[in-house]
Assembly symmetry: C2
Homo-oligomer: 549 residues x 2
């Protein structure tokens, strides 16, 4: 298997997987299919856009009529599918139905998966479940690692690219151990398991936390799979946190309960729909009433197809967002589907420095900050880090002038141009001795010589005001750090807070009393005695600086 | 014309318009078509889902070959369209191209629109533009009203259902006057104009403010139209603020600039797309590369069709949201497309009491509060109003016990059941003398006897904490008002703040120190002297109450 990473955003990776002369894009979804009994046919799946499918080798193995047939013809011929086929080993069934009928040994089912030429077979793991106590979870993790090692010794087929399951459930230390130990073993894909119950309960914080724990401990050059992830409203957040692949039967399981996927206000019940809000071939050709009147099998099939169309559409949206560097913007929109998704997104706050490592240096477009959660973006964290750790104040400066950031940044703002012109033409202070920085809601301090660099100069944001405590804390912290490091460079510091300014439409606008710059004096006053003051006009600033000499 | 309102949510109205034996649903979009030269044919528009179209009677009138022909056959036959046809009068062209060639008099163009049997003709108005000074705007408003009155006298055809334009631009008093005066005159539809420049500049706050000003002053039984609204990411907010109808050529104008509508991360340039993230028939049949290679006319046509598919899909989503009572949930998601949309949504805060009047009493589903802006929902405002104005504390109570609201509300929470059981079985205080209320992030105070009523008992919310100032202000205000009115009903007041509680999964969870209940004592202490205390256990509460006697 080859995994080529083409582009990245967040921890999301747009990539290509090539295996056994077959190819697929990442991030991608393996729809789960039954090995011989499907409402949506394999051909239909292919038409809807499936490049890869997941099926169950154990169910096939149990079927004595098919076992030998599929051994001979191979799983691709059996399913009549030209794309990539992954096969599960039955571990999930063993747990989920708690059924001794499902018991099988590793050696048999692994060999069988090689025999049928699965592209991505899975070893017989022991999934840790959310209710497992620590001891049980630990046993399962250790046994899965042991089986993984045994699997490596037993491998015969070069066509089999083994998936290595990672477990640990809610126990972070076990998860880390599982990721570290499995990383040492050669698997094509690492797959996080034990998530299905969490998805069913909409407890999205747990899989996000688990995924991030794994990402921090796993080898970075292999795809990361999430077993059982099929709710499209969670796809973008999962991808942004490092999920490359997922498999699920949700499209068909939900269809069996008459549930219809949407990305706007969540999963709907068919009975509540009077018109289909979607443009997919199913929704274009049928009305909800048509479906209600069809017999059950046809209804399920059509709903399942719609659910798949929505799922693949979302994957295309996500891949396009990675290309454009807009993945966080997409995530911040999608999480509004459910409060638990927002709470899950907020968890990235604790891992900002991890995210920052993988954040792109440059993106083509200006940024849009449309929600409170925008403040968690890794690129903001990176700027703060650079400002404090590597930024150097120009040598020649003696005075600091802090200007407010206006609707247009830097020399795009009519008011800022006016102020700069006054400073350039002034006969009181040597222009080079004045260092101009902007007070920024988002970025804290932006030195004017950086204003045209990404991501500072071009962004649009919702109005944050100084009553927002998260912002205030960020802002206060970065300002304090900046002055702790640099206060001695400036003899005097002036803050300009105008009564009015000219906006991008050249309209005279009252400057907001809620702008964070109003809290600036109290934050930096510990660093200066009488050498700090607030002014409304540039002329007064110059006179204040002049008084120094 | 008949306008039947079937369902409502926010100020949005799901309705049916019947006119001249034709029918359309609201909210709806009139795609603007050229009277004889269209990239997307009328037949194609119908297939995509257009129930109504807007065309320009003035351009038709200018064409001497067609003028008489269309007079004879009628506009529906001329366009070969069976749906509803609205016609503009040329006022927009007159302004937009500032061209004397476009000059025409009211009498002629109004008569012409009647002759060609337009279902919804428009009088020759004078649109106020965003840069007009007050005097110019006032003149235009007055002259439009004067022309509206003259139009009424001149009307001859019963088939013509006139659209009355409302103007005033950014001048609220002029807009109100326009709405009030036009309301007195009999028009089928009232249409707000002068918005196009605002949409082009993404200044969504202005049209929202204008629309709300009009809605507060206009007769409520007629549809409200917005001239020139064609950006689908703004549809849901406009509808929630009372927009029933809109017309636009954006689908084709954007297509001419290679721009492709999406609802997730805004309008894209075709050149930036590597795969189409949409399932519409255009995106299902072509790739971005196909379109780039097609000749210009075909490319524009296909992009325009996609843009229309997205627009109509969004209208279906909006109508479905109105039926389900989820319109605000949808709006709160859509506004993440652009920070200016969020800022525009926030403007509803100032009109909460207006929105509250039209808010439904009951909705079928529990509410989801997924963003900070959820706190502006009219139904929260209504609850606060009712709690303060009409709620009565049960007569027999002597003591108040305030419990925290947990993840599950009321008797669905294991911990709350435990506490209630202890109170029911206690031998210290007569159970009926204890009034239990919940401290709620969102609702302030929820008396236990109301916990199972809509919208209190069943909702899910993001975690707000006591550092959120908007929330804090709301919470503080409602608590203060409650105690101002009711403090004398309670001899003593106890607040229960546990160290731990059991969540819905029966897991023991540390109670958050950021929960708003932690600020409760300081808010209500002015109302009680020693008769207020905070406890960790029910037993201590009972002893505290007992000490009274």
């Amino acid at each position: 298997m080859k995994f080529e990473i083409i582009d990245v955003d967040g921890l999301g990776r747009l990539g290509k997987i090539r295996v056994n002369n077959r190819e697929m894009t990442t991030p991608n979804l393996f729809p789960v299919v039954h090995p011989f009994n499907n409402s949506v046919s394999i051909l239909e799946l292919e038409k809807i856009g499936a490049q890869c499918i997941f099926t169950n080798s154990f169910i096939l193995y149990q079927n004595e009529n098919l076992r030998e047939k599929v051994r001979k013809e191979g799983i691709h011929n059996h399913l009549n599918f030209n794309g990539i086929v992954a096969t599960d080993s039955g571990a999930f069934q063993q747990y989920f139905y708690d059924n001794q009928q499902f018991s099988i040994d590793s050696e048999t089912i692994e060999k069988f998966q090689e025999d049928i030429e699965s592209d991505f077979p899975v070893i017989l793991d022991l999934p840790v479940q959310i209710n497992d106590d620590y001891y049980t979870a630990k046993e399962k993790v250790n046994l899965t690692i042991k089986r993984a090692k045994e699997n490596i010794v037993r491998r015969k087929s070069e066509k089999a690219n083994w998936i290595g399951p990672i477990h640990g459930g809610i126990y972070t230390d076990l998860l880390s151990k599982s990721a570290i130990e499995m990383s040492k073993l050669d698997f094509a894909i690492y797959a996080l398991g034990g998530l299905v119950k969490m998805f069913l309960d909409y407890r999205f914080e747990l899989p996000v936390k688990m995924l991030l724990t794994v990402k921090k401990n796993i080898t970075p050059n292999k795809p990361i799979h999430m077993f059982g992830l099929g709710l499209p409203q969670f796809f973008s957040l999962a991808v942004a946190c490092g999920c490359d692949l997922m498999d699920s039967a949700a499209y068909i399981l939900y269809a069996k309960e008459n549930r219809y996927f949407t990305l706007s206000t969540g999963t709907k019940n068919l009975n509540e729909l009077e018109e289909f809000p979607c443009n997919c071939p199913i929704c274009s050709n049928y009305t909800p009433n048509d479906l209600k009147e069809f017999d059950k099998d046809l209804r399920i099939k059509l709903l399942a197809k719609h659910n798949l169309y929505v799922s693949f559409s979302e994957l295309k949206t996500i891949r396009q967002s990675i290309r454009e560097g807009n993945l966080w913007e997409l995530v911040e929109q999608r999480v509004r589907c459910h409060p638990n998704l927002v709470n899950a997104l907020r968890m990235i706050k604790d891992d900002r420095s991890f995210f920052e490592k993988y954040e792109k240096v440059y993106k083509n477009h200006g940024r849009l900050y449309s929600s409170e959660e925008s403040l968690y973006r890794p690129l903001i964290f990176r700027y703060h880090k650079k400002l404090i750790n590597t930024y150097r104040v120009p040598k020649e400066v003696l005075y600091l002038l802090i200007l407010p950031e206006l609707d247009l940044k830097g020399k795009n703002s009519p008011s800022i141009i006016n102020w700069l012109n006054k400073l350039d033409r002034n006969a009181i202070i040597n222009r080079q001795e004045i260092h101009i920085v902007f007070s920024s809601y988002i970025y804290g301090i932006v030195p004017i010589e950086l204003i045209d660099t990404f991501p500072l100069g071009q962004y649009e944001s919702i109005e944050f005001n100084n009553s927002n405590s998260l912002l205030n804390n960020n802002y206060k912290l970065i300002i304090e750090q900046y002055f702790k490091k640099n206060f001695s460079k400036y003899h005097k510091c002036a803050i300009l807070i105008p009564d009015f300014y000219l906006d991008q439409y050249k309209q005279k606008i009252k400057f907001s009393e809620h702008n964070v710059i109003n809290s600036l004096k109290s934050i930096i006053s510990p660093f200066y005695k009488s050498n700090l003051a607030v002014f409304k006009e540039i002329d007064s600033v110059l006179n204040f600086f002049k008084g120094d000499e």
